[in-house]
């Protein structure tokens, strides 16, 4: 290597600032991809000079991406390190970069959602709201500055952390470490995709397949419960003991499908989409079609 290309702190700060707008062009096809490419542009400009390389890099970073917007920062950091190595001639291919992104985004969203949306936000929000409800202007001020300082500091330091960790991964070029990372990333990526298809694609059928009258003693007899708190206690105890709430056992189509394996319909839908995409059906057509199906199926009470 004659001259090592390196991202300066100024480049990384610029990426960090732009990552604030990660969700700006959030879309149903590739979600945060536009914002991701927007954030990577300062790095791409620095690392690649030829028009072909730049076009390829932009294309690479317009691929699907979606995670919690704040924990995207460590992923951006690692990706910056990988791009730096690639620009310096290391054999980092597109699949490796996409694999790292996909492999990290699921688990990190699993950290970001509970930490920010369900811990920091309710605590700060409740504090600010209770102040504001008494007409105190300090409430919104605390919320605004508290939230943004926490967020900005978190995003900068995790991005730097990811960048340094990513550089270490790629330092060892002689060993097969990089190849291992590539393969490991695609394994992790596919594994997480399998999990996300099950958890995040939601297809629910509502038709009732059967409604069976239960025998006496299999359900809670509400009219025979004692009144007041005693009755509530007894009802809860009976439910824990396995008694049904109503006197009919209702089985929906969804219950039947779930007993095969939960998420089967989501899997089928995903495979259908893969097939349609391979048949060169435009993603926009698929997306609009799914919305129409959602409305129509809801109208005829299928979903």
């Amino acid at each position: 290597m004659v001259q090592e290309l390196k991202l300066s702190k100024k480049n990384r700060l610029s990426v960090w600032w732009r990552s604030t707008f990660l969700q700006g062009s959030w879309n149903y096809e590739r979600m945060q991809n536009g914002g991701w490419a927007y954030a990577m542009i300062p790095a791409i400009k620095k690392l690649y000079t030829s028009k072909e390389d730049r076009a390829a890099a932009l294309k690479r970073h317009l691929e699907f991406f979606n995670t919690h917007p704040y924990v995207a920062s460590p992923i951006i950091g690692v990706t910056l390190a990988l791009e730096e190595e690639r620009a310096n001639g290391a054999p980092v291919d597109d699949v490796a970069i996409q694999g790292v992104k996909i492999g990290m985004m699921g688990p990190l969203a699993g950290i970001g959602d509970p930490v920010f949306w369900f811990t920091v936000k309710p605590i700060l929000g409740a504090l600010a709201a209770s102040l504001a409800m008494t007409g105190n202007i300090i409430g919104p001020i605390i919320y605004f500055f508290g939230w943004n300082i926490i967020r900005m500091v978190f995003m900068w330091y995790t991005q730097e952390f990811g960048y340094k960790a990513g550089s270490k991964i790629t330092d060892d070029l002689s060993g097969g470490l990089l190849q291992d990372i590539t393969k490991g990333a695609s394994i992790l990526g596919m594994f997480i995709l399998g999990a996300l298809v099950n958890r995040w694609v939601s297809v629910k059928f509502t038709p009732i397949v059967s409604s069976v009258k239960l025998d006496k003693g299999a359900y809670i007899e509400w009219d025979k419960l004692p009144t007041g708190a005693q009755g509530i206690k007894e009802a809860l105890e009976q439910q824990v003991a396995g008694l049904s709430l109503g006197d009919h056992k209702i089985t929906t189509l969804q219950n039947n499908l779930d007993s095969l394996i939960p998420g089967l319909a989501a899997l089928a839908l995903t495979i259908l989409c893969m097939w349609l995409l391979k048949k060169k059906v435009s993603p926009i057509v698929i997306i609009l079609g799914l919305f129409v199906i959602g409305v129509v199926f809801h109208l005829i009470h299928l979903m």
Binding site: N27, G34, W117, T134, Y143, I293
Partner: protein, 268 residues
Amino acid sequence: MDLNIIQIILVVIVAFLAGMEGILDEFHFHQPVIACTLIGLVTGNLVPCLILGGTLQMIALGWANIGAAVAPDAALASIASAIILVLGGQGSAGVSSAIAIAVPLAVAGLLLTIICRTIATAFVHFMDAAAKEGNFRKVELWHIIAICMQGVRIALPAALILAIGAGPVRGLLVSMPTWLTEGLAIGGGMVVAVGYAMVINMMATKEVWPFFAIGFVLATVSQITLIGLGAIGVALALIYIALSKRGGSGNGGNSNTGDPLGDIIDNY
């Protein structure tokens, strides 16, 4: 009460900021406690709007965009209900009726954001075209246009309420059919599959398909969190790499093939 032209412009600017944040989720201008306060500040109704913002914030504490699911829209709820409160001119006494209108507004905002997020799909295709030419400016431009569209999503209704008054808005919200909003929400749950399908088409090889299957099946165990699944995924990748290496280096030698059962059979 009537607002002067400067106040109207400021209200629309605040609405625009809130709309942007409704998608970005970064600076949190769209959170009720901030958005309502800003509306109050620019219209000179600080205290009633502050109280409205605080109360709405309590309601909206748990609203969050998880995965690809879209939460009720705090941006439209706070901006529009604050404007209606200001226009009503009842001061703090109007807070409770403003809150009553905020929840249907949040649902209407949800509808608008689903529409915007679908339109943005077209924008990223323009970005693709720009990327092919290596044109940074155009990629950036389309991203910024997308953000502005989300700003207009709130600024336009805000301007509309200022223009036509609060009454018709209330009527419009009541007439919005639930089958449409619910149906679109169902569609939104399915549309996510398209994005996953694209990535799978890109990454899938014969070698890594089994890992997809394992991930899918393990995800049905609801006690395993995403972090837990991540740990299993990393462990599987490490095991696979370690084993495939051992198999590779062991082929040449005959003493240790990395396959204890095979050794036993060979030596027997």
